[in-house]
């Protein structure tokens, strides 16, 4: 079991040094601590069968609502690229969609930006927005679910 005090110390150190992620091997366990805009997230990743060699990168952790995590009957609108998520065309505008919005396949639901290229993303599915899985300006990965849509 990972020492909780050790994690506290690590989080304090991460805050002090502006670190986004720390991976720690402790006996049979890998601990990944990530800091986002909100509270730090601690994930304990049980080690695979073979104790060595140690993995260089921690096992990928499913994003919220990721593969397998999508509730039955809903379809995820996924990010086609790595970048930053924007819910509205500019900071002063209302979001493209909100929970309860009806969308058609060609409805623009958000903008993903990378390197000052702002890309409108469409729903590709007809239905109702059931859940928004990312916050405005949050960094998103390729294939990460952004919205859950209940198909019409």
């Amino acid at each position: 079991m990972v020492d909780i005090e050790k994690i506290r110390e690590l989080v304090a150190m991460m805050v002090e040094h502006e670190l986004a992620e720390v991976k720690l091997r402790d006996g049979g366990e890998w601990v990944v601590i990530r800091r986002g805009a909100a509270a730090p997230v601690v994930e304990v990743v049980p080690q695979a069968v073979a104790p060595s060699p140690a993995p260089i990168v921690a096992a990928p952790v499913a994003a919220p609502g990721g593969a397998g995590g999508i509730p039955e009957g809903l379809i995820a609108v996924k990010s086609p690229m790595v970048g930053s998520f924007y819910a509205s065309p500019d900071p002063d505008s209302t979001p493209y969609v909100s929970v309860g919005s009806m969308v058609a396949p060609d409805t623009v639901v958000c903008v993903i930006e990378a390197m000052k290229v702002f890309n409108e993303i469409k729903a590709d599915v007809a239905g109702t927005i059931e859940q928004i899985l990312v916050r405005n300006e949050e960094a998103v990965e390729y294939g990460q679910p952004l919205f859950l849509v209940r198909p019409a």
Partner: protein, 266 residues
């Protein structure tokens, strides 16, 4: 202030491009040239590829962070170019670099000023900003995507044309150059330079583009402010790779790599 206006006739005179500027429009006023270009791409798919839209004045020009971007009527070169392609994102980052390199070279060719690129694609003369680029894309009919490269380059402004709060951070060709400024020639060069990279049969070779970008990049060690995952970091640039991102010596001591896709200069 009366500055010489752009005309389609003058811009296309002697323009020898294959793709960019097949159709040229000059508007007296537009919300933003990117908006006009995106709407044109939606309206007339296929024939919009290569369309170049210029405007003398933007009522809702966009800058970084959704900031409104103002220039006196006729003072800046405001231009957007439409490219149509398959709805895939693989080359999105390259387009922003092409736009920066092309704008940089267009200024060099027509004014003798050698601006430098600040990652990813702002044009600087010393520590003052001369111009900026904003690329936007929109899915359009038949599985295609319209890419619009929008550029704004300050041409005729004097210092007092800039708002006081940015006066010491902004510049124009008029301020920098001893030669008379020819905005029409600059417009034509922007189209020609983009065409060199984007005309049919030209593979957008990432390595070639990367080295062209690095050749025009401003020197390292400059102060930088970045937003990364919602937080702001300040420091000095240690290394830059146009596609990978920036290595920054943070003011609080750590040295950290900021990846290109998730970081924004603020």
């Amino acid at each position: 202030m009366q500055w010489p206006l752009l005309t389609v006739k003058a811009i296309v005179e002697g323009l020898r491009t294959e793709r960019i500027g097949r159709v040229v429009e000059v508007l007296d006023e537009a919300p933003s040239t990117n908006d006009v270009a995106l709407a044109a791409a939606e309206r007339s798919v296929a024939s919009a590829d290569g369309l170049a839209v210029f405007a003398e004045y933007q009522t809702a020009g966009r800058g970084r962070q959704g900031r409104t971007w103002h220039a006196p009527r006729g003072a800046s070169l405001l231009c957007s170019v439409v490219l149509l392609g398959p709805d895939e994102m693989a080359q999105a980052g390259l387009l922003t670099l092409v736009a920066g390199v092309a704008a940089c070279d267009a200024v060099r060719e027509t004014s003798g000023i050698w601006p430098m690129l600040r990652w990813p694609n702002d044009l600087y003369v010393g520590s003052r900003k001369l111009g900026g680029i904003l690329v936007e894309s929109r899915p359009i009919a038949s599985g295609q995507r319209a890419w619009v490269i929008g550029a704004g380059i300050n041409c005729y402004q004097h210092a007092n044309h800039f708002p006081p709060e940015i006066r010491d951070q902004a510049t124009s060709l008029e301020i920098e150059s001893i030669e008379p400024i020819n905005r029409t020639a600059l417009a034509r060069q922007c189209l020609s330079q983009l065409d060199m990279w984007l005309k049919p049969g030209t593979d957008l070779v990432a390595d070639r583009l990367r080295s062209a970008w690095l050749d025009r990049a401003e020197s390292l060690g400059r102060p930088v402010r970045l937003r990364y995952e919602g937080r702001v970091f300040e420091g000095r640039t240690v290394d830059v790779d146009p596609q990978a991102g920036l290595l920054v010596q943070l003011n609080e001591g750590a040295r950290r790599w900021f990846d290109a896709a998730r970081s924004q200069i603020v």
